[in-house]
Symmetry: C2
């Protein structure tokens, strides 16, 4: 019909007006290299004068963490533009949450499709009044990428909410097992209303030192990466196991690393027994496939496979937190796919690059009654629309292969840099483009990052002295070369 033609011709103009630049593609089918900029371009130091002015204008708000203000309209693909007109190669991507770069034409197309308007302006209470197309959209998007063994998904608004509700599912599952799937006693129903046992039982979640699972109070009790996250917030007496401290490159330290992993696994079993004995049984184990905020710490597929078996043996649920690792950045859609397990987890949580939060779970983790896992919005269908288009782009442009290719180039480049500057850099590591390298200390790390930013390379930090690379999935080999050139220039000048 007419309106389709109309919409399509409108869209060309629309992109033109919205983005207003000669670099912009006029169709939605171009790949990143055809619509984005070709290189960084710096006009001032960062933050420049416009940035400083804007920061002042925010006055009393919580602005201590603001790096700089961005011109998102002018940003494209891998390049983030700030309000002083500085264009940076962005390998931090909003704390790893931009899947296919800025202003991707495919996402703009979602916005301009009249069929999608209602999903944006009428946010439903998804748990009680879902939109007509919700089942279809769920199957096309989230269920089309479900982890092995999982056919259920629950959407949520953000990563913390996803992990909180995943924890709750594990507690409910655990207590139902303990009760033999009988109805709760009157005493349980009564005591839960006043926060007391047995209705609110003393169950625990086992987490790992260095972990980050979010900052609401349940998640925070399983988070152990930085004191600034946890100081002054009441917490739970839950067991904390050591995460393996491996030596890199992994393939050169196989024996040493296996010993370290065995030590940690032994400690996990000891803690499960100890916490059961002190009346706080472990209902679930939560772990990241690669600890991100805690310093980009890896472990082997063998470690995860054995940990999964320990969970099974002791009747604990196994929760893999893929909030940062999920969405393709490791070269597979889920980082846990690298483990090669048919039954990798009981729960897999996600957010960030998937644009909506949520978690998958095995059938038996489904709560026995409605409203046990519930809130007003239960996610946001407009985010599912964007996710569906992101998945289309990933498939159409073979982005997982691109990530594998770019990731290899990036890691090789980091190896070369640490060989050339061994007094400054060490422990290069990564999977796909999910890469990191350590500086000799935090001051050096911070100095390198600021110098890089002023040369047009915006990176993230994690752990004590680590630089983390979290580019979008449209990060190509020529972007890797830009990145390495800038880093090399800085290191050559360093001290």
């Amino acid at each position: 019909p007419d309106w389709i033609i109309y919409r399509s011709s409108f869209m060309h103009l629309f992109i033109y007006f919205a983005l207003g630049s000669r670099y912009v593609s006029k169709t939605a089918t171009k790949t990143v290299s055809e619509f984005e900029y070709d290189a960084p371009s710096m006009k001032t130091a960062v933050p420049g004068p416009n940035n400083i002015q804007l920061c002042l204008s925010l006055g009393l708000q919580n602005v201590g963490a603001v790096h700089f203000f961005c011109n998102y309209e002018e940003s494209r693909g891998n390049y983030l533009v700030d309000v002083d007109g500085n264009r940076m190669l962005d390998v931090y991507t909003q704390i790893s949450s931009i899947p296919i770069g800025y202003n991707h034409p495919a996402l703009i197309k979602v916005m301009t499709n009249p069929n999608n308007v209602s999903a944006f302006v009428n946010r439903p209470a998804l748990g009680i009044l879902p939109p007509e197309n919700f089942p279809d959209k769920l199957f096309e998007s989230l269920l089309s990428i479900a982890p092995s063994g999982m056919s259920r998904v629950q959407t949520m608004a953000c990563g913390s909410c996803s992990n909180e509700n995943a924890f709750k599912s594990m507690f409910i599952w655990y207590r139902n097992k303990e009760r033999g799937y009988a109805s709760p006693s009157e005493q349980e129903v009564g005591t839960c209303m006043i926060n007391q046992s047995p209705g609110c039982p003393d169950l625990s979640i086992l987490s790992f030192m260095g972990a980050f699972h979010g900052r609401t109070m349940g998640c925070l009790a399983a988070t152990h990466s930085k004191a600034i996250h946890k100081l002054d917030i009441p917490s739970f007496d839950w067991p904390i196991a050591p995460f393996p401290k491996l030596q890199y490159p992994l393939e050169e330290f196989v024996r040493e690393n296996a010993q370290e992993e065995a030590r940690c696994l032994e400690e996990v079993e000891d803690l499960i027994v100890k916490w059961r004995q002190k009346g706080r049984p472990v209902a679930g184990i939560v772990i990241e496939p690669i600890q991100a905020e805690g310093g980009d710490n890896h472990a082997s597929p063998d470690f995860f496979s054995k940990l999964r078996n320990i969970a099974r043996k002791h009747g604990c649920a196994f929760h893999v937190d893929e909030v940062q690792t999920g969405g393709g950045t490791t070269g597979k859609f889920w980082a846990h796919e690298h483990w090669g397990l048919d039954d990798p987890a009981d729960v897999v949580s996600f957010s960030k690059k998937l644009l909506t939060g949520g978690y998958y779970h095995r059938d038996e983790l489904q709560p026995d009654k409605p409203y046990r896992i519930f809130n007003t919005w239960m996610g946001d269908p407009s985010k599912n629309l964007f996710l569906l288009e992101v998945l289309n782009v990933i498939r159409r442009e073979n982005l997982l292969e691109e990530v594998t290719r770019s990731g290899k180039a990036l890691l090789q480049g980091l190896y070369a840099l640490q060989t050339q500057y061994p007094h400054i850099l060490s422990r290069a590591r990564g999977q796909g483009t999910f890469c990191a390298i350590d500086a000799c200390n935090d001051a050096t790390r911070d100095s390198i990052m600021l110098k890089a930013r002023n040369k047009g390379l915006f990176m993230g930090s994690c752990g004590e002295k680590t630089i983390r690379f979290r580019p979008a999935l449209v990060f190509k080999e020529y972007h890797v070369h830009q990145l390495l050139n800038i880093l090399n220039d800085i290191l050559a000048e360093h001290k």
Copy 2:
């Protein structure tokens, strides 16, 4: 310039195609009565055949709470259309989260404004890389409606996140006071990483029986409305005070209600002392201006004023949770404005009708360091754009006056019904359109609600046997008459 004309003419077509109905306005300035339907219209019982089919198609997902599937494209103003073509007068509005009705032309205009595209397709990490227009949008939207005494706001993704982070702010504030604003000790920094005191102190939040503040683990420890929310989830040993059980209409039981409120306030003070003595001092008191989920329980301005003084006297922060009461539904923008206090609270949290979550706070509740209150997204600027337009509509159409007028008509109508059917209905109560009435028992309540739904009136429930009314702000007196007519028909037929 040309493109503005183009956009404007496109918008008319756009609304036409997106909504496709003779009732639809072709401009964004029409009021609700000019673009919505004129009455309910029922074609099948609810859920009808299309609904049942869709529910089956969701298969293994968490669907136990689904009432019915909606056709949001065809819904308008106060009328929600389901997938069987049934059009219902909606006075539950997605658990009270739709501020100005379905498909309001002003909100569709936000979607079709090319200047807004970037805010939808490039969701920033707001805490570190805000968009250029963020300060302006914040001042025009959230800060333009800041509660008395508050010039700071922190956006969040949902109501639970807002309350969790408000609790954290109160804990941080309380511990900073205790430390005399000195740096934390090495012992505090060390112990917080392993969930232990003094780094993770045994502080508490005082809440009220019947309260609902959300379902993440911190919020849930302050929630005491239904066992299904809390069963099997570990909790904190926090004090729980009785919420006044008042008699209605309030003006007929002034003396009795004042006694009941005095009893509850005395208990609050006792609990604060008791919890301090047992080493779990109360850092903050959290309360809803009207308990919603817990059964629409009211208290007097005098009660809240005295409670606020008790908090001040004992050095506890005072947190008013306006997630459900905020946004105009009581006839004032914030329910706490009815108390007439210059300094009503230290923290006011919001979500639902404000479309974004968040909380306001007094200056001294600002954390002393960046990254203490932080997460990846810290809200969503695209929701601020919608909120800004909602506020424009509220002002332009004097919706707070409309709410006051409709609310009076609704409450008078409910009084008349309970006089006519005293064996079925009692305790009609409300402020603005935030009204409720009790049935004689839960089975009768549920039966009335189902019958009403089949006649085209969709209501919500709360507490044990309460019907709650949560219409949008565009609910007019003629909608009140439709509602009362349907209820009257059902009650006349009842038993």
